[in-house]
Symmetry: C2
Subunit: 423 residues, 2 copies
């Protein structure tokens, strides 16, 4: 698979160029991407209709079919999101901190693009639009691999994107499509060229990717989210949040899989809660075997716990560190839950369904991370950056700062600014 | 190796408790650690003397022997560093950003401890002091594995630390020692319990760890640092920086391995540069086979390049993304080099030897990362944290924000503050 390595090498070369493109150039490229897709709208919708027809012949399940299908409205909404990404502040070149190490020796920590990102996703063709928008805006090259069922759609989208960004002065190989699972698997060997892999798909798939590569992997294998109804929960809020978290989109990773009820609230809450869930068509499971399960459908686990500490321990034992919520009127319970639950998102009196890059105001997301290193939770532009330490001196050597009578460092915090500006 | 898993489980339990300890408690624990080591100073130095004697009998090389040897002065210096770590601002619980998603719905991104960190290091016993100081201050539990030659010293140090932190109200299993390579290897299987591995050692060792685990790995396999002497470099500065970067500590990862000279500066610079290097005892190597090599001794590669762009391309091809420096008087060259070189540290008119957590003002470092995800460069307290998204609502459900006429989000930036404070 030498041509997969060649693709990765071209991605790396493009990334090195893109990293030096100005904010205005990268923002313009994202707008050009939106314009290019709009101009080729008919061709893209036509390719999608072919994919949908083939998927129907192959008997693809209805929910997958609905995710695969691109409508003019869906595409317009996605392009509106892309234009929002273009308008977001530049995530690159921000000075996060600056320190005067000694007279004339100034250290700055500055955000920089990651480099080459690989993203393997499922049938949703809008991901093939959103992800390149985010990677271009943040100065990264991307290698995309979509699902086989969306092959024609993804090719039409990526062809349009490549033509549009090339016309905008960005190397077209900053966005490339990998075709077939073999190419994606071959890419995982090139940890010297690819800086991050984002797998989006089933838990088994994400685990497979993690086990197959030395490239850092960002993603979530499971979304086992909890809603804990505390003793002081407002009953109306408690039931509304539990219900929304479960039924709003049961197959989403931020849907609740388990509801915990404080023992003291159980007599008052449980009858109304179980009735509301059953009325909505939710099946309730109880007992040790039901916990820690990602149902992904209209099933929910239910447990009664003694207090907030027991709820925290339960979530940390059975959850997947994605997003967990408490419904309470007690500020101390809220504080304990927020401090004690070891998850990417910890919510108070709000549905777990808000865990989403768009809803968080990140513009869009490349994925949701339950890893604790690098980006955690929904990953937007900031999660696609790293930092660079820029040290500017006046001929400083290190030897005087060590030995028997070392010159002391000043280590004075400076206001962040242009690391190369003469002051 | 069930007892290795048991250690990791105890570390995880301790980490969950430590994550909830206050700033004052964690800072006090770090001071207690320093006090405890001071009180057991004689026992630690005695254990170290036994390690040194055994290593001498085993014929350990002189540089390693000198790193192994702990003197009262070295220990005092290390403890002074520990007290600085205690005094650093709390890295945990800082609100990095806050957004008003809608009326009464406030999102905050707050720093949080990583959890359980494993650190495998070489003979330097001061690492067994510094690393627990950093992990405790940042609310993390640590599993330490030192070199076999420092076994007695490390055990004496870790015993003293455990006693001291337990007396300070921190679970003693927040700091544990793994013994033997088999235990360290067994630990690498427990990616459900360990959040980060930091291997410090040879390039081969770091690569071995990366290949052996699904746990995220932070570290650097190689330090192939470059110094580029630009056409406009001040000759005195150019030679001083090149010399310092090479000879100040040739086996350090931030030592220069290759010096690049701009073609236009070569006639004026090269004779004096090569003379200075040779006088210092440095052997000069040229030619394609010499580039990209981590000499780690008094050898340096030398190449003449046509311009700053060629220098950037050379560094990106042959370097290890650790730290690279330019010596120049041309602001445009500096700007290009800083933007174009894809390394954790990019320095202007300063020696690569400054790439170090203490010198950067981070207090100390757990290691230096050439990975682009998570922390990059010297890793101090901030690199040992992750973030948590805290969403506080008033019973908000997600359903109204989607569908045919969705309620719009406000997405207004808020000043960072206590995520749970009622406003």
């Amino acid at each position: 698979m030498d041509f997969v390595r060649a693709k990765a090498e071209r991605a790396r070369e493009s990334a090195l160029k893109l990293a030096r493109a100005s904010d205005a150039t990268r923002a313009a490229a994202v707008l050009a991407l939106a314009g290019g897709l709009e101009r080729r709208r008919d061709a893209i919708l036509h390719a999608n209709a072919e994919d949908v027809a083939a998927a129907q012949r192959d008997g693809l399940a209805a929910p997958l079919l609905s995710r695969l299908k691109l409508t003019p409205e869906k595409l317009s909404l996605t392009l509106a999101g892309v234009r929002q990404v273009a308008a977001l502040p530049d995530p690159v070149g921000r000075t996060l901190r600056a320190t005067l190490l000694d007279d004339g020796l100034r250290l700055s920590q500055v955000t920089a693009p990651l480099g080459v990102v690989a993203c393997v996703f499922e049938s949703r063709p809008d991901a093939a639009v959103q992800i390149p928008a985010l990677t271009l805006r943040s100065g990264n090259a991307v290698l995309l691999k979509g699902g086989a069922e969306a092959e024609r759609t993804n090719r039409a989208i990526v062809d349009a994107i490549r033509a549009a960004i090339e016309a905008a002065g960005i190397p077209k190989d900053a966005v490339q499509l990998l075709e077939g699972r073999a190419e994606a698997n071959a890419l995982l060997a090139h940890d010297d060229l690819v800086d991050l892999v984002i797998p989006r798909g089933s838990s088994a798939f994400v685990k497979h990717v993690k086990a197959s590569t030395r490239i850092p992997v960002l993603g979530h294998a499971e979304g086992v989210c909890h809603v804990f109804l505390d003793a002081t929960a407002d009953p109306r809020q408690a039931i509304a949040i539990a219900l929304d978290a479960k039924v709003d989109s049961p197959s989403a990773c931020n849907a609740a899989e388990c509801i915990l009820v404080h023992r003291d609230a159980a007599p008052a809450l449980l009858p109304a809660l179980t009735e509301a869930l059953r009325k909505a068509g939710v099946e309730i499971r109880e007992g040790e075997g039901a916990y820690g399960r990602e149902w992904g459908d209209m099933t929910v686990s239910l447990a009664v716990v003694g207090d907030v500490e027991e709820a925290i321990a339960f979530v940390n034992r059975h959850g997947s560190k994605h997003t967990d919520a408490i419904v309470t009127r007690d500020p101390e319970s809220a504080r304990r839950f927020v401090a004690g639950v070891d998850s990417a998102g910890v919510f108070v009196n709000a549905s777990t369904r808000f865990a989403d890059g768009y809803r968080y105001g990140l513009g869009a997301e490349v994925g949701i991370s339950t890893s604790k290193v690098h980006a955690r939770g929904p990953v937007g532009l900031d999660g696609l950056t790293t930092t660079k330490w820029v040290l500017v001196g006046e001929g400083h050597t290190a030897a005087p700062y060590q030995g028997a009578s070392p010159r002391p460092f000043r280590h004075e915090p400076l206001p962040p600014g242009d690391p190369l500006e003469t002051r």
